[in-house]
């Protein structure tokens, strides 16, 4: 068990758990669903942090509580468990090491160009702040009532359409290499030859999709009802690596770090439920702390070699909820939450993100939660700082949460990793 200091919280013991799906999992979106003809239960491709945090709290408190049923003390104890994650882990060889993967960053766009449809990567960076005469080029921007925000559109250098078949998850090692690349040369930093020798973006598509057709059962007769066929969509994680169609498919799992008191972190392994319809996952601990929790030396070196670099990127590993949509209210102070003790101010100058997603959920007694719209994981925020970046400054942001509320932070929302540009 290791000691960690979650962002903004007093030091708490923590433990890292691997969650290996055993059955197909269903992470329902908020649409109502009933066993009617043609009905369809949709699953999100990846669970929201709150889903995993809630399941872990229930499992860990349940395992350590002397009470056979959930009581008020258990609820209080559960609320004190702070969760980082979930992160995707892949095991490429049976019994091999589990490798962390992160959502692909939105500041790289794979494209095919030229007659030979060569794969290339377009780097997105905010346009340079040229002296714009009032009658020059421009874009609309509906401003939020937040200070220190001077957003500029991304500089687009190519006109090709984005390649749709690009991996949704990158190996952490590749993401770090990209975050350490201040030049923006993405082809050099990312593209690698595939087994056929063609350049490709290494990565994974994430959990697999499967659909199940169900037959409605009459509550009166207990028999199948004519014509009542409905469908559920599930997510599946291979438990062992396998080969299919000349491709290696790794075993997949979720990783989460839990901060709490030692009483509640004494579980080594257990079966627990995750998502809808009682999906089962096996919870276990890893022998070695996964590399994702260590500030990478490559970033430290990159910042050391850069001269007075004052441009910071933040890549979101989990979705973020902000009161003003994409704009964090902490920008009013010009201070990123992980830098509150440091006297470095920032200006937000660019954002690249995919379309907002809804998050709600259920509370046992109160019913559904209010919906929040989130900035999806993979978003990249660009800042300019008023002091040169240092390895120490970047380390303070590594795997920190920039969520606006303590509740969201404790559920694992808004976790970022820093980089240069």
């Amino acid at each position: 068990m290791s000691e960690h200091t979650p962002n903004g919280q007093p030091p708490l013991p923590s433990r890292t758990y691997l969650l290996q799906p055993i059955s197909p999992l269903l992470f329902r979106d908020a649409r109502p669903f009933g066993a009617d003809a043609g009905a369809h239960a949709f699953s999100l491709p990846w669970p929201n942090p709150r889903t995993v945090a809630g399941a872990l709290r229930t499992a860990l408190i349940g395992a350590s509580s002397p009470n056979p049923t959930w009581d008020k003390d258990d609820a209080v104890a559960a609320s004190k468990l702070l969760i980082d994650g979930p992160f995707l882990m892949a095991q490429h060889e049976p019994g091999g090491e589990w490798i962390p993967y992160v959502p692909k960053p939105d500041d790289v766009v794979p494209m095919r160009v030229g007659d030979d449809k060569r794969l290339t990567l377009m780097t997105l960076r905010p346009q340079e702040p040229t002296v714009i005469e009032k009658s020059g080029p421009g874009t609309d921007w509906t401003s939020a009532p937040v200070s220190n925000v001077e957003l500029r559109p991304m500089d687009i250098a190519m006109d090709a359409k984005p390649e749709k078949k690009a991996p949704a998850w990158w190996p952490l090692e590749q993401a770090i290499r990209w975050l350490a690349t201040s030049s923006g040369d993405a082809d050099r930093a990312i593209l690698r030859p595939n087994p056929q020798g063609n350049p490709h973006v290494p990565g994974l598509d994430g959990l697999m999709e499967t659909r199940r057709i169900h037959v409605g059962i009459s509550p009166n007769t207990g028999m199948a009802e004519d014509g009542i066929l409905y469908q559920t969509q599930h997510r599946v994680a291979p438990m062992t690596p396998f080969d299919k169609d000349d491709d290696r498919h790794p075993a997949l799992a979720l990783l989460a770090r839990v901060h709490g008191t030692e009483d509640h972190l004494n579980v080594d392994d257990m079966l627990m439920s995750l998502g809808g319809e009682g999906g089962m996952v096996g919870l276990s601990t890893l022998e070695n702390t996964p590399s994702i929790f260590d500030f990478p030396n490559e970033l430290a070196q990159a910042v050391a070699h850069a001269d007075n670099l004052t441009r910071l990127r933040l890549q979101f590993l989990t979705p973020a909820i902000f009161k003003y949509g994409t704009i964090p209210t902490w920008m009013n102070d010009g201070v990123i939450p992980g830098w509150r003790k440091r006297k470095v101010k920032v200006k937000l100058v660019g954002i690249t993100n995919s379309r907002r997603q809804p998050v709600s959920g259920w509370r046992k007694q109160a019913g559904s939660r209010a919906t929040s719209l989130v900035v999806p994981a993979g978003a990249v925020y660009f800042f300019e700082t008023d002091a040169p970046l240092t390895a120490e400054l970047l380390q303070a942001l590594w795997l920190s949460s920039v969520a606006e509320s303590n509740l969201h932070r404790s559920d694992g929302y808004g976790i970022v990793i820093p980089g240069l540009w």
Binding site: D29, A30, R31, P32, D36, A37, G38, A39, H40, D106, R112, K117, L124, Q127, K134, S135, G136, P137, G138, T139, D140, W141, T142, P153, M154, I156, A157, D159, K161, K164, K165, R211, I213, A224, D226, G227, I228, L229, Q231, Y324, G325, T326, I327, G350, I351, N353, S354, R355, R356, Q357, P358, S360, A366, G367, S368, R369, A370, T371, S372, L373
Partner: protein
């Protein structure tokens, strides 16, 4: 501070969300009006640009500029990207004014929809216990439109139009990479909308009457957000459901062979039109090809009938329902034809249109292209109607529609040839050699499936057509046809390059072979069994492996397996296969169909195998289509492959 003098700009406004918004639907009406609403919002954007710009300072490019003094037509589709030339001193300010005007227009659309709802006779209140939470509904409608705008200076004589347009589109793409949004109003404890999980339910079901639910086309207790209420109540009812589309071949058949039976069904449907199980279709103006039976009802599908367990029909209405069902059964027995519950979703998209646009260097040329794309959208709607389908949207080079099984291939072909010839004529006239084409995806599915599945599969088929033969080297200009049995989530996919003239040389011969009885509807199973008997998959895998490793070390037998041996063996087994048709004739026909496929005549055994697999899938799909071709020999009932329920 002195005001700057007006100067010329190219401006562009993109509105959204498009695909996600349109696809958020449970009923065809949601799809259709979602797309209609976006088209109307785009039209309103262009119209407001005209209204709010000083006279003569705005020249629309996309959509095309209307004649002097006239408004934009209300019935022509407008794509979600507006481009114009503007002479103005402050484009930012003008675009803000236009944005506010479009939001106000959207609010009026919701108000109109609520008035329509109120006109049902049940008073709509605005207090806390109102049937509809109007405040939340308005906030949701106010928040739903995505809006991105960019402007770029252009020379007064437009001489740098081409470069300015390139810069403008890049600027817009840079702006769109930030998908800004505002939080939606949401209250804990409220249900989420059944159409869009991001938005709260605004309906108070305790106060909704049966009539209210019917107006909103709701299942009982179905939650719905304000934007979805607008989708359900907005505009005129110009649409028919997927069940009506699926039933159309049968209705055309009985109109010819049992007109009295059809008249009886019409009478019963008329008597039931005030219930949840029958809805009238306005064929007087919008869907005249459904005049024979202008009703949306699932009662036609007796075997698939699911009388919503929550429907509150009276005893009298239930009696009528039972009579309707019995009448359908009687007609089916008399004519030997049952309604087929499968139909086709078509999604098509132009190829090389961006390239063609980039090759044009003047505003006038782009305006001509703009006119041509609008004309094609109108043609596409007419073509779909001619093939008894329901047109959902066509914006620019995009087409989305539902079609009956028996007309889908012909419709796809007419759309493709029309688009290609329109574009060729235009580009030749402008002195350009680029010839845009149309990639088409057809997806066969059961009408009872969730609309989301039907639309997604059609989009997948279109993507398949766009990246054929490989994602790395797509030829585009292809036709992809997929079939998904209701009881199996896995689709069959057959994709052909247009170069191979797949409709004339592959689909129509296969259809003719089954229609004429030359081969049976189950013929694809015969070939599938033979490939299993020959263990072709294992053989091909072994040969590939041997080839990949070292042919010198390959087992000796691999050298003896030649494609000639394989083809001869296949022919022999086909002739010996006992079918209800004359074995010899059937075998010859199947070998002809196999010969039509790419690769069957090649020396590559893998290519031969792929050709055989493609014929199996093609005949399987054609067999399904044959169930809605009622003038062909009666189908021998056979279990669906993969059926589990």
């Amino acid at each position: 501070m002195t005001a700057l003098p007006p100067r010329p700009y190219l401006i562009t406004i993109a509105i959204g969300p498009v695909q996600d918004f349109i696809a958020a639907g449970r009923k065809v009406r949601d799809l259709w009006y979602g797309s209609e609403l976006l088209s109307l919002a785009a039209r309103e954007t262009a119209q407001q640009l005209l209204n709010l710009s000083p006279d003569g300072s705005l020249n629309l490019i996309f959509p095309p500029q209307p004649a002097a003094g006239e408004d934009l037509p209300t019935d022509a589709p407008v794509a979600n990207l507006i481009v114009a030339r503007l002479k103005h001193d402050n484009p930012d300010q003008l675009i803000k004014q236009v944005h506010n005007a479009v939001k106000a227009w959207l609010t009026r659309q919701l108000d109109d929809a609520l008035v329509k709802f109120r006109e049902t006779g049940d008073p709509l209140e605005t207090a806390g216990d109102a049937k509809i939470d109007v405040v939340t509904a308005h906030a949701q409608v106010d928040n739903f439109l995505e809006w991105f705008a960019a402007w770029y200076p252009i020379a007064p004589d437009d001489s740098d139009y081409h470069d300015a347009r390139v810069h403008l589109m890049r600027l817009l793409a840079g702006r769109k990479s930030h998908r800004n949004f505002a939080q939606e109003p949401s209250i804990a404890g409220r249900q989420r909308s059944s159409l869009d999980p991001a938005r709260d339910n605004v309906l108070n079901h305790a106060l909704l009457s049966r009539r209210d639910r019917r107006r909103l086309r709701l299942k009982r207790d179905e939650p719905m957000d304000g934007v979805s209420v607008l989708k359900r109540m907005g505009g005129m009812n110009r649409i028919a459901s997927v069940s009506r589309v699926a039933a159309d071949p049968w209705i055309r058949h009985i109109a010819q062979h049992d007109p009295d039976g059809l008249a009886e069904l019409n009478q019963l449907a008329r008597a039931l039109q005030c219930t949840e199980v029958v809805e009238s279709i306005d064929t007087s103006k919008y869907i005249p090809h459904y005049t024979d039976f202008p009703w949306d009802t699932e009662l036609l599908f007796v075997e698939d009938l699911v009388l919503d367990r929550q429907n509150d029909l009276s005893d009298e209405e239930l009696k009528l329902v039972n009579t309707f069902i019995k009448t359908v059964t009687c007609i089916s027995k008399r004519t030997g034809a049952e309604p087929c519950p499968y139909m086709v979703t078509i999604a098509a998209d132009g190829d090389k249109v961006g390239e063609a646009l980039s090759s044009l260097i003047s505003i006038e040329h782009h305006q001509q292209m703009s006119h041509q794309l609008v004309a094609f959208a109108e043609e596409a709607s007419e073509i779909t109607a001619r093939h008894h389908g329901v047109f959902i949207y066509g914006g620019g080079d995009d087409v989305f529609a539902f079609l009956p099984l028996d007309t889908s291939i012909a419709c796809a072909e007419e759309l493709r040839t029309t688009f290609a010839s329109d574009m060729k004529r235009l580009m030749c006239g402008l002195g350009k050699t680029i010839e845009p084409t149309l990639s088409v995806g057809l997806s066969i599915g059961h009408f009872h499936e969730h609309l989301d599945s039907l639309t997604n599969r059609a989009r997948d088929a279109e993507s398949e057509a766009k990246r054929y033969p490989t994602p790395e080297h797509p030829e585009k200009n292809a036709l992809a046809v997929t079939f998904t049995a209701r009881s199996s989530g896995k689709p069959l996919i057959v994709t052909d390059s247009r170069e191979a003239e797949p409709v004339q040389k592959r689909w129509l011969p296969a259809i003719a072979a089954i229609d004429s009885g030359a081969i049976s509807q189950g013929a694809y199973r015969d070939i599938a069994i033979i490939t299993r008997e020959l263990q072709l998959d294992a053989l091909v895998a072994a040969l590939k492996k041997a080839k990949a490793s070292n042919t010198a070390e390959a087992p000796p037998w691999t050298k003896q397996v030649t494609v000639e041996v394989l083809r001869a063996e296949l022919a022999e087994l086909l002739k010996r296969k006992k079918t209800r048709d004359a074995a010899e004739r059937s075998a010859e026909m199947m070998l002809t169909l196999l010969g039509n496929e790419d690769g069957f005549a090649s020396d590559d055994i893998d290519a031969v195998y792929r050709a055989i697999r493609r014929v199996i899938d093609r005949l399987h799909i054609v067999s399904r289509m044959a169930t809605a071709r009622y003038d062909t020999p009666p189908m021998t009932p056979q279990p669906e492959e993969g059926a589990s329920a």
